[in-house]
Amino acid sequence: MTGTVDITLNVNGRDHAIRVEPRRTLADAIREDCGQTGTHIGCEHGVCGACTVIVGGDPVRSCLMFAAQAEGVPIRTVESLANGDTLHPLQRAFMDHHGLQCGFCTPGFLMLMTAVLEREPSISDDDMLDVLASNLCRCTGYQNIVKAVRAAAAEMRASCAAVIIREGG
């Protein structure tokens, strides 16, 4: 395959002007052209979810999307989650509850649940399990991922409620 396209990807608030083949996947572009290697590639079949990033608010398997399709839409990866030294509640909960072992699938789970909890903070436990079943982890048996996500969801709901009260909502 020959030929390239010039595109600009907005990753974690920063524009990356890159030249890629049209067939370049978003996952490869994020990792190799934008240098954000926190997004991992586990299967390239769209099954394992390790490469999940947030594209315009939606959790997306970046191995199933072409880089060129993501132009003009803000992309968020695991590198965007922490605010300086302050970790995202999900990151903290994964550490507190031992929701990771080898850590390879972790960025995918974090981005999946970040997107889902932002959209649906009061997600039911059953729906949350359905969502978590989109990604594969081979180390944890999911026990502590489920615990971590429950804890982070509760914390995020509480801080959201606190903001509403503070702002007189």
Binding site: L81, F104, R138, C139
Partner: protein, 779 residues
């Protein structure tokens, strides 16, 4: 000796401190092999044929494609075993004449990007004259079967035989004998990170650095240097963050040899990232075994004798370093399990076939032998009309040390106690009542038990007993406190998710009085860590942990001597705690950091009584120890669809002293999930021509969060003298017990139909077929 001592709070050991590994990983700042940039990228051209003769390999003119013909002088992979009628077979790095499995690498395309290398590989024309393959082990044993290696005309390349002297008499005296066949289909360990390697040549030194996803960096260095005929120290192997291994990443693969050869040949950097299809085809398989098992029982349902015929399909080649003997020989050695049975006869064969080579995978044979033995116990319970729990009570080992029929020494454990603990926690009578009520409504619930031993932390004597040319076992650590008081411990183990940076730091912290956060564990770099055997076989916390304890005790002694000089007190009066050395009962103290500084910069103060510097080493090579557990699965089987739902999974386990409860629980959880996948879902399938039908994760199905129920864990801690830290291994037990518990539960649920499911995975299709068969028989 069993005592509930978890989380005492006064020591670092026993506490669920957060992992020191995690901050980088949750931020996406881990260093994985595929993150490295390279000048050249590789794509392997793989055989689409299971068995055949290569007649021609044609590459586009001028293209950078290398074949076996280019690798002149590179030796084949040929591991050696000096026992058990082992026939050594050679695996060429890139074969020139014969291919032996679908997925075998036969050429390598080199280009400036991954995509370009893939495009180039697609243009390489390979002509292979197909031969009839042997894919099934029993088929390969038949007269006239295709021969996989000319050196082994019967396709058997390893054969263990044992028969205890008392066997024939015991067998003849049996009150009842029960015989059946247990079958385990083939699995792939499926770490989420597939294999990846990066080799970089340094023109100044002529050295190559190979960064790759390995569990045993030092041994990989030895193996590759041997095959390429290069000085071993000219190769540096780095295992950076490794995305799971489970055994798949402990064997030598031809792809890494090619990487190092190419880095030297091109005097540049070359990289390869395996895709998932390659991993499922060629990244090592496991568990493909048939066990014909017969048990002899006396009138009281006590198991008096065991007879087994084990056939292990080891694939096309023998894996380095363990050899393909690892599965059949482990099965033979440990099949009697946790039961007191002294009459034993076994034949165990490793059979080569035209399939992906087999390598160790979490549990190594024990998930299969435990499944077979635990099915036997349930069948026997049914035959005697007693409860499955009762038959286990009558047969479990209760006195220690116990010498097994195979001569293994079982150290202090809690087989009976963990069974009773599990029985109490699940409330069996309540379950039976629920089961009866459900059956009346056409719903089929079942409960299944598995009691088992898990041999862990075994050193060189255990490997020597197998006759391995390469005899792993011991571990060495180097412990250094720098002049600022920060501690670095360099280890030969190579963790990849087990949390060893945290648990080893906890063990050391208690000895030398500094916090685990002040202790940095360095591993996975042959330039920085002492020679060691890597991480596998539930060994690292026991053996590397033991070596850490030995080194830390030496450093402690040195710190006490330093303090006695500096504080002018007797060493016996000094307490090391929270970064300080204090004279007990006084307010005199000195910081450990300043003592360390003095050991480097003020040596004259110690009048030649103290060696300069702050480095101590420790080595440990234990005989081994047995962890144990009882697993209980409660399932519902849908008799229409064959679907199995696990309602509850409960574990009572004993891995000795728990260093970090949170991490130990995580190991058990992960093992059980893999065991449940083994029991219900995961199966590598070949068709009759030896082509692989399960080459995506949509076909080969590891479980998701939906298939794994909440797992309830209960612990006991039996302290055994077989481990100096009192910790036993905990990495594999989950995977060992779960398939047996799940299959026993399925069979319990299906009791009204009179069917027996003795095959894993028990997929809905197989369960439906068994139920249909039972209906037809009745009609």
């Amino acid at each position: 000796m069993s005592a509930p001592t978890r989380g005492s709070g006064t020591t670092w050991v026993g506490r669920s401190i957060r992992r020191l590994e995690d901050p980088a990983l949750v931020r996406g700042q881990g260093h994985f092999t595929a993150d490295l940039p390279a000048v050249h990228w590789l794509r392997f051209v793989r055989s689409p044929i299971a068995s055949g003769r290569i007649t021609r390999i044609k590459s586009p003119a001028g293209a950078s494609v290398f074949t076996g013909a280019d690798l002149q002088g590179v030796k084949p992979i040929k591991p050696m075993l000096h026992k058990f009628n082992y026939i050594p077979v050679a695996q060429p790095i890139l074969p020139r004449d014969v291919v032996r499995f679908v997925g075998e690498p036969i050429a390598v395309a080199v280009s400036r990007s991954k995509e370009a290398a893939e495009d180039l590989a697609d243009l390489v024309e390979v002509e292979i004259t197909p031969l009839t393959p042997a894919t099934d082990a029993r088929q390969a044993l038949a007269t006239g079967a295709p021969i996989v290696h000319a050196e082994a005309p019967g396709n058997v390349i390893v054969e263990g035989r044992v028969k205890t002297p008392n066997f024939d008499a015991t067998w003849a005296a049996a009150h009842r004998r029960i015989k059946f066949e247990a079958l385990s289909r083939r699995q792939n360990a499926t770490p989420l990170e597939a294999r990846a390697g990066h080799a970089a040549y340094d023109t100044a030194s002529g050295r190559v650095t190979l960064t790759c996803t390995t569990q045993m960096p030092h041994l990989l260095r030895t193996a590759i240097a041997d095959l390429l005929g290069m000085p071993e120290s000219d190769l540096r192997v780095i295992a950076p963050d490794v995305g799971g291994g489970f055994g798949q990443k402990m064997s030598l693969t031809p792809e890494y040899v090619v990487l190092v050869w190419l880095a030297r040949h091109l005097k540049s950097s070359v990289a390869w990232t395996e895709d998932r299809r390659e991993n499922l085809m060629a990244g090592f398989h496991s568990r493909d075994q048939v066990i014909a098992l017969e048990g002899a029982f006396d009138k009281e349902a006590r198991l008096t004798g065991l007879s087994a015929d084990i056939i292990a399909n080891v694939g096309a080649y023998s894996c380095f370093p363990t050899t393909c003997g690892v599965e059949p020989l482990m099965a033979m050695a440990e099949l009697p399990g946790p039961y007191d049975v002294q009459a034993y006869a076994c034949v165990s064969r490793g059979v080569v076939t035209n399939t992906c080579p087999m390598a160790p995978y979490r549990g190594v044979s024990r998930p299969v032998i435990t499944f077979a033995l635990e099915r036997l116990m349930d069948k026997a319970a049914a035959a005697f009309g007693i409860d499955p729990v009762d038959i286990r009570r009558r047969n479990l080992i209760e006195h220690f040390p116990y010498t097994s029929a195979m001569g293994l020494i079982f150290d202090e454990a809690s087989y009976r106690e963990t069974l009773e603990m599990a029985v109490r926690e699940v409330d069996v009578p309540a379950f039976r009542a629920r089961q009866t009520a459900a059956r009346a409504k056409g719903r089929f619930l079942g409960i299944g038990f598995a009691t088992f031993s898990e041999r862990t932390g075994y050193g060189s004597p255990a490997f020597a007993a197998r006759g391995m040319e390469i005899t792993p076992g011991w571990e060495t650590v180097e412990l250094t406190m720098d002049p600022s008081g920060l501690v670095e411990v360099r280890i030969g183990s190579s963790p990849h998710g087990q949390g060893l940076r945290t648990t080893l730091a906890q063990i050391i912290a208690d000895e030398i009085g500094v916090a685990p956060q002040q202790i940095r564990v360095v591993h996975g770099d042959t330039d920085r860590s002492p020679y060691g055997w890597g991480t596998f076989a539930s060994r690292s916390l026991v053996i590397s942990g033991g070596a850490c304890l030995i080194a830390a005790r030496k450093l402690r002694t040195k710190l006490l001597t330093l303090a006695s000089h500096l504080l002018e007190a007797s060493a016996t009066d000094i307490v090391l705690d929270a970064g300080m050395a204090k004279v007990s009962g006084t307010d005199r103290s000195v910081s450990i950091a300043s003592m360390s500084r003095a050991a480097y910069y003020q040596t004259h103060r110690f009048k030649g009584e103290i060696e300069p510097g702050m480095t101590e080493t420790g080595s440990y090579d234990p005989a081994g120890t047995f962890s144990n557990a009882c697993h209980v699965a409660m399932v519902e089987v849908d008799a229409e669809t064959g679907r199995v739902t696990i309602e509850k999974f409960l574990v009572a386990e004993d891995a000795g002293r728990i260093i970090n409860p949170m991490i130990a629980d995580g190991q058990v959880h992960g093992g059980i999930a893999q065991g449940i996948g083994n029991a219900l879902l995961e199966e590598i399938i070949y068709n009759e021509t030896g082509d692989i039908l399960t080459s995506t994760l949509a076909d080969y199905m590891p479980p998701t969060a939906r298939e794994i129920p909440a797992i309830e864990l209960h612990h006991m801690e039996t302290y055994s003298d077989a481990s100096i830290t009192k910790a036993k291994g905990v990495g594999e037990g989950g995977a060992i017990g779960a398939p047996a518990a799940v299959l026993n539960a399925i069979n319990d649920a299906l009791t009204p139909f009179g069917v027996q499911i003795d095959e894993i995975p028990a997929t809905p299709r197989k369960i439906r077929a068994a139920l249909r068969g039972a209906m037809e028989k009745r009609a």
